[in-house]
Symmetry: C2
Subunit: 594 residues, 2 copies
Amino acid sequence: MKSIHAGELRAEHIGQTVTLAGWVGRRRDHGGVAFVDLRDGSGIVQVVLNPDNEPASDDVLHGLRSEYCIQVEGEVTPRPEGTVNRDLPTGEVEVVASNLTVLSPAAALPFQLDDRSDVDESLRLKYRYLDMRRGRMAANLVARSKAIRAMRNVLDREAFLEVETPTLIASTPEGARDMLVPSRLRKGQFYALPQSPQLFKQLLMIGGVERYYQVAKCYRDEDFRADRQVEFTQLDLEGSFWGQEDVLTVLEKIAAEVVRDLRGEDIELPLPRLTWTEAMDRYGSDKPDLRFGMEIVDLSDAFADTEFKAFTGVLGDGGTVRGINAGALGLARSGLDALTTRAQELGAKGLVWMVVEEDGSLRSPVSKFLSDEERGAIVTRLDATYGDTLLIVADATKVARAVLGQLRLDLGQPTGHDELSFAFIVDFPVFDVGDDGSLSPAHHPFTAPASLEDLVNTPESAVSKAYDLVLNGSELGSGSVRIHDPAMQAKVFEVMGISDEDAESRFGWFLEALRYGTPPHAGFAFGIDRLVAILQGEPNIREIIPFPKTQTGADPLTGSPGRVDESQLEELGIEIAPAVLESWAAAEAGDTPE
Amino acid sequence: MKSIHAGELRAEHIGQTVTLAGWVGRRRDHGGVAFVDLRDGSGIVQVVLNPDNEPASDDVLHGLRSEYCIQVEGEVTPRPEGTVNRDLPTGEVEVVASNLTVLSPAAALPFQLDDRSDVDESLRLKYRYLDMRRGRMAANLVARSKAIRAMRNVLDREAFLEVETPTLIASTPEGARDMLVPSRLRKGQFYALPQSPQLFKQLLMIGGVERYYQVAKCYRDEDFRADRQVEFTQLDLEGSFWGQEDVLTVLEKIAAEVVRDLRGEDIELPLPRLTWTEAMDRYGSDKPDLRFGMEIVDLSDAFADTEFKAFTGVLGDGGTVRGINAGALGLARSGLDALTTRAQELGAKGLVWMVVEEDGSLRSPVSKFLSDEERGAIVTRLDATYGDTLLIVADATKVARAVLGQLRLDLGQPTGHDELSFAFIVDFPVFDVGDDGSLSPAHHPFTAPASLEDLVNTPESAVSKAYDLVLNGSELGSGSVRIHDPAMQAKVFEVMGISDEDAESRFGWFLEALRYGTPPHAGFAFGIDRLVAILQGEPNIREIIPFPKTQTGADPLTGSPGRVDESQLEELGIEIAPAVLESWAAAEAGDTPE
């Protein structure tokens, strides 16, 4: 239906007769002649519709509205002098139509499709198929496809096998809730949708697949959280006879190839690596944004003998005094007080601010409580010069890191993603330590500890063979070396408080599999949407997903989820709970909102 | 952990010290020395474990059992004269171990892993990870990965975009039952899992994606049917400004590339095309196996004036007389009678068999009722010679086609798939005509009819722009040109008996989308598992799927589907129906089987 794509036309085609097909973009009328932007997947070209040499009737021509799908036959001609459009790849030519066919008319649009108009997101999602015709969304679809292809290209070269794992599975132990699928043939029983292919990919390693990957759809039924989707896609990979180093090397190749294919840029390899402790100490985050400095500095020892009560109390309780040099903020007193309020909202007891005066002295409400030596140490340690604002938190280590890490982002994080800063975070702790000292596993229980002895003796500080890849302050994915020894697996369950009985009922089939010559193995899971969103400079992953859901898991386009016929449920052997039916009845009666 | 893969070792490596890792295959002991097949993903090499030059203790050596995961360091040496194994790519060399490490021991195996032992399928599925270590399954996993890569390569070259469509969707109108997923955030409401991405890929066309593909997971909740899976994978593709010819051309390229990559063979293009009517008339099937002839021949006009009552009756009722030449079957009377029984089981009122005698006469119970002319016509039309068995059915056209088509397969279909015979079947009817003359749609209602006029006036014989790809008697996939005109869509719904109200409630959102300048488009869906199964010579698709389910949708490995905690259901606002709970209670009480 077309002899060439609209966006491919150039001066070299002048004189040729071409057939184009696409959509009507902007239209301008001058002296009875219509100039129409014809747009297809490749771009835009200007079409000249002159009733004098174009056989379509005036009716057609006058009725030709935005987003009509049309076919045009015509001659490629040079644009008249002075009308060449240098911003458009096809801007040197136009197509003078000799024939126009309306393939499909378009109803009045719910919103304008040019990229400049700002449209409410719920409207964009309801008419996603129109939203996709806009340049930005169209480019994002292409970028996503290219990113996945780049990943596959690397893994193909590295002799990975693409293997599909099932999606109707038994419940997996990933922490979040499983989404369930009732079985009709076994009424009252349920499949779960996978939160990840974790155990299946480990089975593949046991099965002798030495290099596995999959672009896997995963499901997480979480409560409201910004920028998460109930269904999402990850690049899942695993290798046997492999360790952390091997995994990170492949990840570097993937990151480099995707950036090259999407941005035409080379990133410097190897990527920087930070231990979890370093990342937390220097940036207050396990997904640090390394595009800027403003590092956190531990000042505790400078205040070992301080007489400033706020610090002595904290240090006496085993706390810490840390600070950042936020640079020349130039804030008035009210701005500085707002920072204190923000620090308190973030969980700190307080915030000490100091501004370096021209004479090197420190302007600060607490300055007078500090000795010359202490003030000097602050300036030296934070590398402070005239005009810099210094922010200091004295608190428990966990709080000081978190608060300063967030203030650092508030004050220093670049907008957009013109610069890219990848890094690996390694040596994650086995456990998250709660404020009350309670331990909760930081990773799934198949993650290998660095030392089983440490895990047993000092679980609160034990390190696991787990690693993350971060980019510009976002986690792109995480992985680990897995446990391949059934005895170690049993011990880890024990330390994690998972009873033998519990382990057996939750994943006995997997523990059985571990007994048959399991090779050492390690792997990773890569969040595709997040990576592409950052590379495309998009603020959220919904811009990268062709048909995303809202944050409550609804699809405004198709109206899912929705009610279903009772007969369907009957076949499945399930019923809607009476409380839900009552709430519907009440809503219908207008008693309460649904 | 390995310096080279086991299967890569050749004479050129002799003298090198290598590190290998893999599994213990067969083991032979001679004079205190153990000869162990070390197997990894690449193949097998013989390792010589001599306690004299190998530091592992006798304990390790004696304890080394089948499927232990081991690491071996040693020197590549030529095999002693007379022990070279020409059947093995590594058969010229062996590795004399200087170091042996057991990475992971293996428990006693539930079945032997050599390919020659025939293991019950349910046991193989329960221990799929061990089954995968066998050569046949390992090769199938590789073949599946290669096939999908070949498909992607073609589509990448043809500038297709890979786009992911959602899997938690609204109910789709595909005919089979939807699998449902209860929503927790909107209690009492459900998502459906997609039976295909049909409507979403059409939305992509409306959205301006001109070439789309996806390797898509689909779900069908069907009753027991051999060789079907509740979840399955299809290569889904669609293009706009495209017609049937464009689709078939791309499919030919895909078929050729997959066959080349998996078999190293070239198939002849273009592929043969038969209309549905031709296929039914000549082979009695819409998925004919074209590897052999034995075509069905219409003999009706030869019996226009027959006096044979069985034929006159059928022809008088608008029926047909058709036959096949089954060749030299050499069957005794009992064998011929068995064919008659088979024909009756298949739905025919009876079967006429005839055997061509040496003198050209026809031996048959009905021969005497036929005229010389009629007997002569049979021999001529069926191209019969001495020894041939001719089978004739006189019945309604539909029955005669189906019965002879199945007898043709029973008697002529080759075993295995050494030869490949692809074909397109085109011009499918819009409706399947029931025995009672009732019409039921043969395709989803978005399929374009060849002529709207025919559809309205003579629906029973109307043809649609639908096509299938078949291989060796199996359907690999189907596709069609879609309706892009909302008015035609409304008319088709009307003819199919779908009321406006029904259409609006089932896919109103899609009908809305059609109104915004929908381009003409067409597409296809390719059953990946079936294609790979045939190319691998496997009798069923479960051999191609890494973790398949049984025919009742169960997974013997993980035990899914299974019962879940009441608290999980409560969160979802659903309950198990009382009848199901009662049946469980009864089963537990031993009253009835569960």
